[in-house]
């Protein structure tokens, strides 16, 4: 690997990452050396600029052919492009959210740190989505995790925040260890950490013992990742962490971090297990044989998420459970593999919908809770009368989360259902659970709307919305409705740009 090899690499493929990295470093230096009285809030705009630049460079890379550099550890394939686009988009929204974050206490001294820790987390997620081997994947995952541990504990003097981050560290640590242990077995049975190579080895595997280990590895990795996406029964941390974390961080966890979890699942499962052989005769049906476990986890997640959300009084906790449920819906798509035709665009679209609606909801929560100092459901009361536009925006998000037609959430769910029904035999039980979960979710989602529209006004204080939050709300509302009414904009985009994601496995 000499100078020439280095020059021969297409470094442009890593441009978005470099931009984010550079922004992070600039931000951290600025935060360090700028005088104390300087308002760190302005750094948000710098961070946003960085993200937008990265986004632009990514867009300019869209027409790039699939490249893999650094001996196939870093791949820029359509999968990576698609998910990075989403990650950057979500990140931009969350930065705007954070810009307007004004809690009763805290974040004053650490506001500057928030932005660059956030960007490092984003960087981790981006690296993950482009990773071509296990090491990059793992390092990206940990970059994301470690940054988010700190982000959760950002409010250093708030006990809840401390507790939340401690819980997150412990749970995250355990899950990391389990994932890693699984990965070590994967390495053991294939003798490589390159995903493409591993997939070839695993497809050709006929040794029963090795397959047994592979199964073990599958479970371990899956359990570890389930922690990350907060799938039941590994979801226990989510409500506590969401409650304790600053609101933008909670939004980040529920959107970006979750997305990253699905990125690993897809990367690993699609490139490794989908074509792994499932028996000693070399039939490539490993995932077919084992997706019952994913499916049951998905079902369980949906049930627990929705049912427990019913009795939550704290908004953030409620949305923690709601996001657990949504992870369940997405897992349905993974378990059914989108029926074989819809997997990646389903997951992508759903995640995009989720970015829009969930960040929107968190924007409203943040606005109301920082103004009233409480996170109880009752702070929503009378919002419909006090500020009807905000209430309308909130309604749009909630309807979308509930999967009501005309919103992105509906199209997303529709996609998932298509995948469950298209196969023969169809996954009717899973679909049944999902639909039942949706109905149950109506109860608590509409319970919020009842607060908003049917209850007397909670406090007369005028709600001041910072421009950043305004932007978030407007973007989210427009996006939620637009992609609900004309989802083809998104579908055409992914089909035109990314085709069928066929360059997923084949290297170079």
């Amino acid at each position: 690997m000499d100078w020439n090899t280095m020059l021969s690499y297409d470094w442009g493929a890593m441009m978005p990452e470099f931009i984010i990295l550079g922004t992070t470093m600039i931000l951290s230096i600025l935060d360090l050396f700028w005088p104390k009285h300087f308002n760190r809030r302005k750094l948000a705009w710098l961070a946003l600029t960085g993200i937008i630049l990265a986004c632009l460079s990514l867009i300019s890379l869209l027409s790039f052919e699939t490249v893999s550099i650094l001996s196939d550890t870093f791949r820029l394939d359509s999968f990576a492009k698609a998910f990075k686009l989403l990650l950057l988009f979500g990140a931009a929204l969350i930065i705007l959210l954070a810009e307007g974050y004004e809690p009763k206490e805290g974040l004053r001294e650490h506001r500057g740190e928030f932005y660059y820790l956030f960007l490092t987390a984003l960087l981790g997620a981006m690296v993950m989505s482009s990773s071509g081997d296990l090491i990059t994947l793992f390092v990206g995952l940990e970059l994301l995790s470690l940054s988010s541990y700190i982000l959760v504990g950002m409010r250093k003097h708030d006990r809840k925040s401390n507790e939340a981050s401690m819980k997150y560290v412990i749970n995250g640590g355990i899950s990391t260890a389990i994932t890693l242990f699984g990965m070590s077995y994967l390495y053991g049975v294939t003798g490589s950490v390159n995903l493409g190579e591993m997939s070839r080895t695993m497809a050709a595997m006929t040794d029963g013992q090795l397959q047994y280990i592979m199964g073990l590895a599958f479970f371990m990795v899956f359990v570890g990742v389930s922690f990350k996406i907060a799938a039941a029964p590994f979801h226990m941390w989510a409500p506590d962490v969401y409650e304790g974390a600053p609101t933008p961080v909670a939004a980040f966890l529920s959107v970006i971090s979750k997305m990253a979890g699905f990125v690993i699942i897809l990367r690993l499962f699609l490139s490794l297990f989908l074509t792994a052989s499932g028996d000693t005769f070399g039939a490539l049906d490993f995932l077919d044989k084992n997706n019952i476990y994913i499916a049951s986890l998905a079902g369980l997640t949906i049930i627990i998420g929705n049912v427990v959300a019913l009795r939550q009084q704290n908004l953030k906790r409620m949305f923690a459970y709601s996001s657990i449920a949504h992870a369940g819906y997405l897992l349905v798509a993974v378990a059914t593999l989108g029926g074989g035709y819809f997997l990646l665009d389903t997951v992508w679209f759903y995640l995009m919908a989720y970015v829009l609606m969930n960040i929107g909801v968190f924007a409203v929560i943040q606005l109301l809770s920082s103004q009233s100092g409480s996170e109880d459901i009752s702070i929503l009361a009378g919002l419909g009368r006090k500020s009807p536009y905000l209430a309308m925006a909130f309604t749009v998000f909630i309807l979308s989360l509930a999967g009501i037609p005309g919103t992105t959430g509906f199209i997303g769910k529709l996609n998932i259902f298509l995948g469950t029904f298209i196969t023969e035999p169809g996954h009717f039980v899973l679909a049944g659970i999902m639909i039942a979960g949706t109905i149950v979710s109506y109860v608590y989602y509409f319970g919020l709307l009842v607060q908003v529209f049917f209850r007397p006004i909670h406090s007369e204080k005028v709600i001041k919305i910072r421009p950043g939050l305004y932007a978030v709300l407007i973007i989210c509302v427009i996006g939620t409705i637009l992609f609900g009414v004309a989802p083809n904009i998104a579908f055409d985009f992914i089909h035109d740009q990314f085709g069928d994601f066929t360059d997923f496995i084949s290297s170079k």
Binding site: M1, W3, M25, I29, L32, F33
Partner: protein, 124 residues
């Protein structure tokens, strides 16, 4: 086979040293027991502190500095984990690796500057 045996024997030696390192104190202390007197009085077993028993447990909260240095150590010690293999293989890696490592170290230095600026390295 020869190479392997050398390899194994060398580590056997290391193991021998480990055993010896543990055995010596054990034996010495055991022998010492035979030689030394044993005349316990209460005073002998008090903690050394102005002649009276300390009022409370000595294991009070440590200064937070110690932890911070501990954390710093962990981070920078791990940095060397990467520096060593890099240094060993540097001949084969060349300029590219140098730049890569520079990148890595600059980021870590940023961490050091951060700690410096945040007064972590101050001992008070």
């Amino acid at each position: 086979m020869g190479q392997l045996h050398i390899y194994q024997n060398n580590y056997l030696i290391v193991f021998v040293f480990l055993c010896l390192g543990i055995l010596l104190p054990v034996i010495a202390l055991f022998l010492g027991r035979l030689l030394r007197p044993y005349k316990p009085t209460d005073m002998k077993y008090t903690t050394y502190e102005s002649g009276i028993d300390p009022f409370q447990d000595s294991r009070v909260q440590f200064n937070v500095r110690y932890y911070l240095f501990g954390l710093m150590f962990v981070i920078f010690d791990v940095e060397t984990v990467f520096l060593y293999p890099w240094a060993v293989a540097y001949d084969e890696l060349g300029l590219f690796a140098l730049i890569e490592m520079l990148f890595f170290v600059v980021i870590l230095m940023l961490g050091l500057i951060y700690a410096w600026k945040k007064k972590v390295l101050k001992w008070n």
